[in-house]
């Protein structure tokens, strides 16, 4: 298991902060529904840089990169046959430029959108696509890779392996869990936090956790489930600003910065190590979260 920047920071501080969503801000900056945010790394570098700065300026410990859908298979899935490596390298360069040495840069990597058991792509193809993406992110100057919004163990395992074998970066992996009828939390593929933790740690991730799919409050039982499995491993949690609703044909994330922040003490008690935000969160949400953590150095 690799340890570098984040683990170093966690030796002196028990709680770190990560950035919030970028997409929501891109939308107010003119990103159209269906438009691919990752293309902005090439076409609207300045705007991407601005978003990165808006989080660096808050004094967070780490920001992500605009590369969530930058996997070659994911891009091909939305009809884009372009140089995936270039988009990812640019994403990392932009975040690095904004971060300087003020904070760490986590290269965001989302799922391919393919399910291995369907046989549309092979394990080798999937591994290669992740390898291209993580190498480009390393070249662009990131400090860590953050695989996120994962739900399938086999895909995430290949992804983590690709990062272990092709980069020297610290590896984070987060899955998206939803509450089942039975009351416990599983991914849509049926994976529990404990199953995920076991597989990802043995594959080589050194930080695990959960993002998306839930607001702040429902992240608490998920963190507890992780802590029942392992009391020490660093845990990253990035909740949405609540569950999206449609209002007048538009997607809205209902939780205000204060509402989200009100559940931060509960999340800290449950044992979170790093808090950030996913869909619908803004610099205001992250500010409120940091202000209500009571443990900020």
């Amino acid at each position: 298991m690799r340890t570098t920047g984040i683990q170093e920071l966690l030796k002196s501080r028990s709680l770190l902060f990560c950035d919030g969503a970028w997409g929501t801000i891109f939308q107010s900056a003119g990103l159209k529904p269906g438009e691919i945010a990752e293309l902005w790394n090439r076409d609207h570098r300045k705007k991407v840089l601005e978003v990165a700065h808006s989080y660096v300026d808050l004094g967070v410990d780490m920001i992500e990169t605009n590369s969530f859908r930058g996997n070659g298979i994911a891009l091909a899935g939305i009809g884009l046959e372009i140089d995936a490596a270039e988009l990812n390298r640019l994403a990392a360069e932009i975040s690095r430029e904004a971060a300087g040495d003020k904070c760490l840069v986590l290269g965001s990597v989302g799922p391919t959108g393919k399910i291995l058991m369907m046989g549309d792509v092979s394990e080798n193809e999937m591994y290669d696509a992740f390898a291209v993406q993580v190498q480009a992110i390393e070249q662009g100057g990131a400090d860590a890779i953050c695989f996120e919004t994962m739900s399938a163990l086999d895909e995430a395992e290949l992804a983590v392996k690709a990062a272990v074998e092709n980069t020297n970066l610290e590896i984070i992996c987060t899955f998206t869990f939803t509450k089942t009828v039975g009351g416990d939390y599983k991914t849509v593929m049926g994976v529990t936090p404990a199953q995920m933790a076991e597989k990802m740690l043995s594959a080589g991730a050194s930080i695990i956790g959960t993002n998306c799919g839930n607001g702040m409050e429902t992240m608490i039982p998920i963190v507890k489930a992780f802590r029942d499995f392992d009391s020490n491993i660093p845990l990253l949690v990035q909740p949405n600003a609540g569950i999206p609703k449609i209002e007048n044909g538009k997607t809205v994330f209902p939780e205000t910065p204060d509402e989200m922040a009100s559940h931060v003490p509960g999340l800290i008690d449950a044992g979170v190590s790093i808090i950030g935000g996913c869909c619908g969160t803004t610099p205001d949400h992250i500010t409120a979260i940091m202000n209500n953590s009571g443990r900020r150095e």
């Binding site: 939305i78 058991m117 849509v188 449609i246």
Partner: protein, 211 residues
């Protein structure tokens, strides 16, 4: 004798090899293909669909069941044609532009096929003009649209507008579905019908075609 209850079980458990094998046996014994579908296959998809809704199984199990269903259905289709059973209607189905969710739409497609409709499956991320082109060039009774993202639901309206612009809106009935789609949304965008699941989709299409 082919053990048709085992066919039902093999679809529920997603055992493609067994479902295909029993289907072959049953067809060799000249079992009525429609009976195989209606009595054994569709009820199997109901069972697995219910288990999915109750979180007793998850996406992998659902996909395996759908695959077993499809494997059997492929074998049965030529026999339906051979018996001179005319399709009950022609359906074009697809997941709208920007949306890559395949599973629910494929279930709807399989159930409609299993119920005797001819189905052309355009896949996912289907642009409006592609749907318009199919409606213009072929005999089509129903356009079935699926959307799973709140951000892609408006694309359903785009398809309806595109059909209007092309002057073919009245040629077809448009039905819509997906977990966030509601009857209210259906009415708002001017679609002809909504159903919350694949079984309901079959009833809906029947109703629209006899109306």
């Amino acid at each position: 004798m082919a053990d048709l209850n085992k066919l039902n079980e093999s679809i529920i458990s997603g055992d493609l090899d067994t479902s295909v094998q029993i289907t072959k046996e049953a067809l060799a014994e000249r079992t009525d293909p429609q009976e195989i579908i209606q009595k054994y296959m569709i009820p199997a998809m109901d069972v697995i669909g219910g288990k999915f809704e109750r979180n007793e199984v998850f996406v992998p199990e659902l996909l395996m069941a759908a695959r077993a269903m499809k494997g059997s259905l492929e074998l049965i289709k030529p026999f339906l044609a051979e018996r001179g059973i005319e399709p009950r209607g022609r359906v074009v189905i697809g997941t709208v532009k920007g949306d890559l969710h395949d599973i629910g739409k494929n279930l709807v497609a399989s159930m409609l096929e299993g119920s005797g409709f001819e189905v052309e499956n355009l896949g996912v991320d289907v642009p409006s003009d592609k749907i318009v082109a199919v409606v213009q060039s072929k005999e089509v009774d129903i356009v079935a649209l699926s959307a799973l993202l709140t951000t892609t639901m408006p694309s359903m309206k785009d398809v309806i507008e595109a059909l209007k612009d092309a002057g073919v809106r009245d040629k077809v009935k448009v039905i819509v579905g997906g977990p966030a789609v509601t009857q209210e949304f259906c009415d708002q965008i001017g679609a002809d019908g909504y159903s919350e699941n694949a079984n309901g989709a079959v009833g809906l299409v029947r109703k629209l075609l006899t109306a």
